[in-house]
Every structure is written in C-alpha cells, then in structure tokens.
C-alpha cells in the first residue's frame, strides 16, 4: 500500500486515541485522501478499535469481544496506519509540534485528539476497594464477568442507559442485581417520567431491584466491597459495585498543553481546537456548550473532521437530532430530541396504554417535531427522526402522527414509503439480524442467478431471520431481475398453484367439507394429493368444521395415525401425559412395570417434564397403553401437531420466591388445551416468578407469574432459531390467563399455515396484529376462546384408551405371518 516516494512528502498525522471516534475520522480521511498523511494511531487499551456500544452485549453474553472489533489489526496494516497500543501519551507540546510517548517525542504536522471520556465517580468513601468497577472498557467487562462467576450480588450505581445495560448484563450472567439511582425515574435524560416508570416496571418484572431517589453515601467494606449505604440509611449488600453515573470528557492532556478547555476540549464548527494544527472529535470535546455521549453526533463529527483533514475547508459540523435506544433484549425504548414541551408554545401529543406497556409521545413546536419518546412500540422512531431532520411541516397529518407512519399512510395523509434501490448505497445494511448489506445481496443475485426470495435467503441469509427487511430484499431482487415475483402466499406443493392462506379461505368461504371436495373445487393437479398437502388439508378441514369433519387417518403422518412416535429403527416411543409435570408413585410404578414387562430398552426424562419409553414394537402399543391407562395415564400427544406439554416450576406452593401457584395454573391450562390439533406442535410453560425456571420465554405461550398477576408472552421457540417471546398482556386472574391462552391458540389454529410454529407466525404477522385481535378487542377474544372450547369437545377423549379397547386394531397387527 505504501508508496515510498510519497512517504517522505506526506504530512505526519498523529492520532491520540484508538476508539470509535478516532478511527471513524481516519476512515473518513482515507476515503477522501488516502495518500495525504503518514498516520500513527496511539491507543491506551491493548486492543484494536472495537465498538464500545456493544460492550453491554458482551457483558450479557450475546456477543464476544471478537464480534465487536470494528478494525482488526490487519486493517491497520492494509491501510498503512501505524498502530501503537498500550503505551499512553504523557504530554503534548504544541509549540514544538510533538507528543511524548514513553521516552520519545513524536513529531506531527497535524494532531487529532480523540481521548474520549472517563467514568464519573461520586465523591464517596470506598471507591478504591476491590470489587468496585466502572463500565467503560473491555477490562471492566472482563472483571465484571469474572465477578459474576464468583459472586452472587451486584449493585449498579446509576439508572441511566449505561447502568441499566450493565444491570441487565449482570442479571443475564446469573447475579442478583440492584440499581441505585439518584433521580425519581430511570434514564431521565432520555425518557420522560411516564416512559421511565414503564421501563422500571418491566425491568422489575425481570428481577432487577431498584432504589430510586437513592443517593449513595458510602461503599461499605474494609478489604473489599461488601455493599453500599444510601443517604437515607438503607444498606444494599453486594460483592460487586458498578459505577455508571455518567462520563466526563477526558481532557487532562489538552489542559496541560494549554489548549482552551471548559467542560470539554473546546472545538469550533471545523472540529479544530484553539491550536490550528490540533483537531478533536468524540466524547472529549465540547461544541457550542454541548458535550457528547451517544454515537450518532460523533459519526457526523468524524465525517467533518475527516473532510477537514483531507483539505475540505467547507465541511462544517451541525449537531444532528440525537436519538437513543436501549440494548436490553425485549425492552423497546426510543427517544430523540426534546423530552417534553419547553414552554406554552410547544405541544405534546401522547398515547398511553399502560396495560400493554405502550407509550408514545411526540413533542411539537409549531408544525415541526422537536422530540419524541417511545416505549413498547418503537418502530416509528426513525420516521420521527427523519421528520425532525427534514424540519417537515406535519400539520397535514397531525391527527395521525402519534399512531405512526402506517396509520398516516392508510389515511392518505402521507405518501407511501417507496424503497429506492438505486439510491441505496452498497454498504447500507439491509438485514440487521444477519448483518447483510446491499452489496453482497446484489453480488449473490447476479453471480448465482437467483430469482426467488427463498434462494436469496438461502445464499445470503438476508431476510432469513425476523423477516422485517423482506420488502427491501424483494425490492433489490426486483430491481436486479426485473419483475421477479414475490409471492406472499406461495403454492402449498406441486399438486396446486394455491397457497395455504388461499386454500384456508376457500374451505371456509365455499363450505368445502372433505379433502376430495377441496381438491376438486380448487383444481388440484394430482388425483390423490401428496404427503405435503394431504395432512395440511386434513388439518384445515378439522379446524374449520370441528364437530362434523371426519378425520382422514390415511392423510396423517404416521405418528399421528398411530398415536406414537416412530423412531429410526421403525419402533415407537410412548410418552404419557404428566399434567403440569406432576406425577405420583402410582404412575411411576405403572411406568416401571410396563418398562420391565415389555423389555422397553430406554426410559428417558424429556425436556417437557415427562417420561419417554423408547423402543416399543408397534404390535405391543395397545397393550402398553392399556396398562398405563389402568394407572390413570393417558396419551401425552408427544407425536402430534398438538399441545405437547405445559412445563411448570413449583411456584408459591413450595418455592420461597414463588408469587403464584404456577403448577396449579399449568395443570388448569393443560386440562383446557390437551387433545387440540394445531398447525404445528405447541409447547407452553408457566413460571412462578420472573426468575422463570420453566423457561416460559422460549415457549409458544408462556405465563410468567408476578406479584401483580400474570404476564402472558407468546411466539417463543428454543429450536434451530431461538426466538424470545413477545409480551402480549399482563392480567390479574387465572380465568383471564385461560381466556387469553385459548384465544391465542384458536387464532393460531385458524390463521397459521400448516407446519408453521407460533414463532415464525407471530414474526410474520407481527405482535401488534395479535394484540389487535385478542388484547384490544375483548369481544373477539371471547369469541376465539369459545371457538377453541368448542373445537376441544370432540378431541378430549384419550386416543390410547380407544385403541387399547380395540379401535383401529388393523393398524397394530400384521396382515399375515406366513412361511
């Protein structure tokens, strides 16, 4: 890369700081003028440039340090940038134009200071004790992870963005965590009181304890931290104390060098300090009285500074509207600009649905948006920021504004958002889940001649996870391939052109009552259908006509026809139902007797809290079932697209943390739901407290008991693609839990595609749609629940007992033994 001739004519740029602001500035410079400088970067941390914002994800165990490196060591070498790490600068001499590194004076022509910030420390005793950490760099995170492995209790001082992310990360690492916050509500710099209270409620439900209005007076302990004492006398014990009350610009070097400083190192719109050869960017600076802690304004500083260093005298820094979001899985917070009306000339439009945990506020000055705070539903955040940036006049759609862009579009108040593929840069990230930008998608489409969305997903992973970016991926595909059709309801199988949704509609609307009628009415291309469409049609008809449709055993997959799970050697497994995971000595004795009598080779405890008897010959199934029936055991439907298990923890009956009778509720839910046929298997769980021992947040439906009632969460999955549930609603009584569970199951039964689990179904339809149907509309919810109960009447009869009594006997006998 280096041109030897240029080496001697290049100016020398020394960069003090190897963080995000410094290196983004260097990248902006290199993009404009790659050969102008001989660049030396000096960093104090022994790492290449990493994404400091993602440290909370490393702490939470969602990412590794390697995952968050932005510029690996190779990048520096490839770009001819000399990197010196681990040896901090001790002095700057602006007159001699040198910086001192260790013993040597390093000359510069231009100097860039990006020294970042230091954690603020409260003026209290005990800060120096072992076990007290800031949350600032990789060393802090390593120390916190180590502490979480050795200790149990942590206190985080500071309930702002950083403190809450630290608290959540430590909670995820298994510690019990308390947050002490000086103010009355959390994140008061980014959120107003209402949103702050919603946030505290949600985090409280996840098991984080809060001490608001809490002024820390002392860190307790003699040899190591043992807790904190608050001004009102309360003491919070802890083995780890994390300081996260804020940051202040790190300006020690600049001040010693005689540069103009105030709170931060003063810079002008050209990012220059009081010395014309010295520039500064990032958290160390002060611009127009403002200091910076969030990334968006710093990116813009880097762009201006990089342009200035490249010789562009016109580049000027104008602070953009600042927006922020919180990186706590499942907690959606967004804020931008003003948090509240500044005076009487400002207006606030708010929407507040406490039960659903949704809060939206837009702050207006005249006909322009100057701020927004969103909680629970944050999808419109970028739209508000865009309107703020554009200083758009919103008077034409003021009525729709708070309900969001889609609502304003539907009302015809704003034009529909069009995706302009040609204007999208190659580096623009299209799929946030898998980190795929436009460039690689285009390359794959062209090089591999891809023509379908599925093929793009298979080759690039774009749109393969949550599906939110599907419209963009489709737009790119169409842009490159002409009119490549994206079919939202693709054909069921090779037997028909119709998609699952169209077939379901036709069955109901045309009153089709049998598989043969459906095939005839919809012009099936094969006489018999196939193994893909027949089980689907059988299910759709069963769901549409629960009291009259006659189940077609020959259109069921073997497991559902035989009522046992086929294994790879052709034998079957038998899993009796254990209601809510409960069993007793009589049942266990019967299982033991059956296992011995029929020489069942493997007996295994399942993940769903029951017992699996594996390796049973088909001919023996009715006899095995008969003996299990005598002890009261019935089919667990472990073989079906049906309700599998309702996993529970022991709850308030035994557990010292339990808030409600989770076991009892689990049994009631299972008694209501067993026997039901569904588009795919369905697994439920009820946890007795937010510690969530029953893992309810990766189930199709989970119930998490809290002091105030029951949180119902839906659409989770622990399989190939883990998906955490979405919060549906919090209710006060068990009766409401049963109604919501039944309604959700029926909505899923009536609208999902066959073999579509709730997780992809909820992701496809959106949790807002599900809420509209069963939270917002009480009549609809009750009707769905009633239809669910109706559909349950014919199926709640033990299929094992029927077969042990002789039903379908041909299924379990050989036709003949000869020879």
């Amino acid at each position: 890369m280096m041109d030897d001739g240029a080496f001697f004519t290049r100016e020398r740029l020394v960069v003090v700081g190897n963080g995000m602001a410094a290196m983004r500035t260097v990248e902006e410079l290199l993009a404009r003028s790659p050969a102008r400088y001989h660049i030396t970067v000096i960093g104090s941390e022994p790492h290449p440039n990493y994404n400091r914002i993602m440290l909370s994800s490393v702490l939470a165990g969602e990412k590794t340090v390697d995952d968050i490196v932005i510029n690996p060591y190779a990048w520096y070498a490839e770009n001819g940038v000399k990197l010196v790490t681990g040896s901090p600068i001790t002095a700057i001499d602006p007159a001699a134009k040198t910086v001192t590194v260790g013993e040597t004076a390093l000359p510069y022509d231009k100097l860039l200071l990006a020294t970042g910030s230091k954690p603020l420390a409260p003026p209290i005793p005990g800060l120096g004790l072992p076990g007290v950490r800031a949350f600032r760099d990789i060393a802090d995170v390593d120390a916190m992870i180590e502490a979480s492995q050795q200790h149990r209790r942590a206190v985080v001082i500071g309930g702002g963005l950083l403190g809450l992310e630290a608290a959540w990360g430590l909670k995820r690492r298994g510690m019990s965590v308390a947050v002490v916050h000086l103010m009355a509500t959390l994140m008061e710099r980014q959120l107003d009181a209402t949103a702050g209270e919603l946030l505290q409620r949600d985090l409280d439900a996840r098991g984080i304890a809060f001490f608001t209005n809490g002024q820390t007076e002392e860190i307790l302990g003699t040899d190591k931290a043992e807790g904190v004492r608050l001004a009102d006398g309360r003491e919070v014990p802890a083995d780890l104390v994390v300081l996260a009350i804020g940051i202040r610009p790190n300006i020690d070097l600049a001040r010693a060098a005689g540069l103009d400083v105030n709170r931060g190192l003063l810079v002008g719109d050209d990012m220059r300090t009081s010395d014309p050869h010295i520039y500064a960017v990032g958290e160390c600076i002060e611009h127009n009285g403002q200091v910076f802690g969030l990334v968006a304004p710093i990116w813009e500083q880097a762009e201006v500074c990089g342009a200035r260093l490249a010789g562009d005298e016109a580049a000027v820094y104008v602070p953009p509207p600042v927006f922020t979001s919180l990186k706590i899985t499942g907690v959606d917070v967004f804020s931008a600009g003003a948090l509240a009306a500044a005076d009487e000339s400002d207006d606030e439009i708010t929407l507040h649905d406490a039960k659903r945990g949704v809060y939206k506020k837009v702050v207006l000055r005249g006909d322009r948006i100057v701020g927004s705070v969103l909680y629970g539903q944050v999808a419109d955040g970028p739209w508000y920021v865009q309107l703020m940036r554009e200083k758009a006049d919103i008077s034409a759609f003021r009525d729709q504004l708070v309900f969001g862009r889609a609502f304003a579009e539907a009302a015809g108040a704003v034009p529909e958002a069009k995706i302009d593929v040609s204007a999208m840069p190659d580096a623009e990230q299209v799929c946030d889940c898998n980190g795929v930008s436009k460039g690689p998608i285009c390359e794959a489409i062209v090089a591999k001649e891809l023509t379908t969305l599925d093929a793009v997903r298979a080759h690039t992973k774009a749109s393969a996870s949550c599906g939110m970016c599907t419209p963009k991926v489709v737009a790119i595909l169409e842009y490159l391939g002409g009119a490549v059709a994206y079919n939202p309801d693709p054909p069921m199988c090779k037997c028909t052109e119709h998609g699952h949704d169209a077939v379901r509609r036709a069955i109901v609307e045309q009153g089709l009552k049998t598989i043969a009628d459906t095939r005839a009415a919809l012009g099936w291309k094969t006489s018999d259908g196939c193994q893909k469409c027949r089980p689907a049609l059988n299910y759709y008809l069963l769901c549409a006509w629960p009291d009259t449709y006659r189940d077609d055993a020959q259109s069921r997959f073997v497991n559902e026809r035989v009522h046992a799970n086929i294994q790879k050697d052709g034998t079957f497994s038998v899993v009796p139902r254990m209601w809510g995971g409960l069993t007793n000595s009589r049942e266990l004795r019967a299982i033991a007797d059956v296992a011995e009598k029929y020489a069942i080779p493997t007996v295994k405890v399942t993940g769903g809290q029951r017992i699996d008897l594996l390796g049973v010959k088909k001919e023996k199934l009715p006899a095995v079932w008969g003996e299990l029936n005598e002890a009261g055991l019935v089919s667990g439907h472990a073989y079906g697209k049906a309700l599998r298990t309702v996993k529970t923890c022991v709850g308030s009956e035994w557990c010292r943390f339990g808030t409600q009778d989770s076991t009892g509720l689990g049994v009631k839910v299972e008694k209501m739901c067993w026997g039901s046929w569904t588009p795919h298997k369905v697994k439920l769980a009820v946890s007795g407290c937010p510690r969530n021992c029953a893992e309810a947040t990766i189930k199709d439906i989970g119930v998490v008991c809290v002091d105030a009632g029951y949180d119902i969460v839906v659409g989770g999955n622990g399989g190939v693609e883990v998906r955490v549930t979405d919060h549906l609603v919090r209710v006060a009584t068990e009766a409401e839990v049963l109604e919501y569970v039944g309604a959700f199951l029926q909505l899923y039964r009536e609208e999902a595609r066959y073999l579509e689990r709730t997780a992809p179904w909820v992701a496809r339809k959106g949790i807002d749609y599900v809420r509209e149907r069963i939270v917002d509309d009480a009549d609809e919810r009750r009707a769905l629940h009633q239809r669910f109960l109706l559909s349950q009447r014919p199926v709640q009869s033990d299929p094992w007992a029927q077969r042990a009594g002789g039903a379908e006997a041909h299924e379990y006998r050989v036709l003949a033994e000869v020879g």
């Binding site: 018999d528 259908g529 193994q531 997959f557 026809r561 086929i566 036709l815 033994e817 000869v818 020879g819």
Partner: protein, 121 residues
Amino acid sequence: MPAATRDLDWIEVGRLDDIPQRGARRVRDAGIALPIAVFRTADDAVFALIDRCPHKAGPLSEGIVQGCAVACPLHGWVIHLDNGEAEAPDEGRVPVVPVRLADGAIWLSLRHLRAAAREAA
C-alpha cells in the same frame, strides 16, 4: 379359489378389505428377514414391496400413499409402488413382490425372495 392361484408359488395373505384405501399393512415370512409391505391405492390396486426404504431403511408401510406411490415416513422419499424405484432426483430401488388380487383375496409370490434370502444366508 381360482385355478391360477392354486400354484404353490402363491400364498394368500388376506383380503382387500383388510387394508384401508391409501393404506398399507405388513406381512411377515419366516423365510425372509425383512417384512413385506402390502399397499392398497385409492382405486383398489394392490402392490407389495420389501418394507424398507432404499434411503435409510424406513418402514414404507407407515408412509402416506399417493396415487401409485408412497412417501417414506422418515425422510419423505417417494417410492413408486409398481417398480420399487425412488422418484428423481433421489436414486434407489426396493425389491417388488408379485401380487395377485382374486375375488377380494390378496396373494403374494415369495419364491424369488426366499431363494435370494437362502443364497444370502
């Protein structure tokens, strides 16, 4: 019993009505290690195959019968009942057992399979 089926090669294994339409049942023969799957299609044609998918030995008798083919329950290979061939792009073949249907009775000819089994032993 019709004259043709009195041939010693042919063994009666059951009635057509013993098998559901689009279904199958198994026959075991003392001389052959593997079971035989006897299929009845939607239009009452009867076929018999060794009950072992050429892919991973799945029991074809447990599969979903569609037209003149069956989908193996383990991994979904589709096997044609008349010649035992796997549907493309999969490749493989299952031995076919000759069948006769006479007056509602199903007869199989096991001579070749028994000879092959003896040879293998």
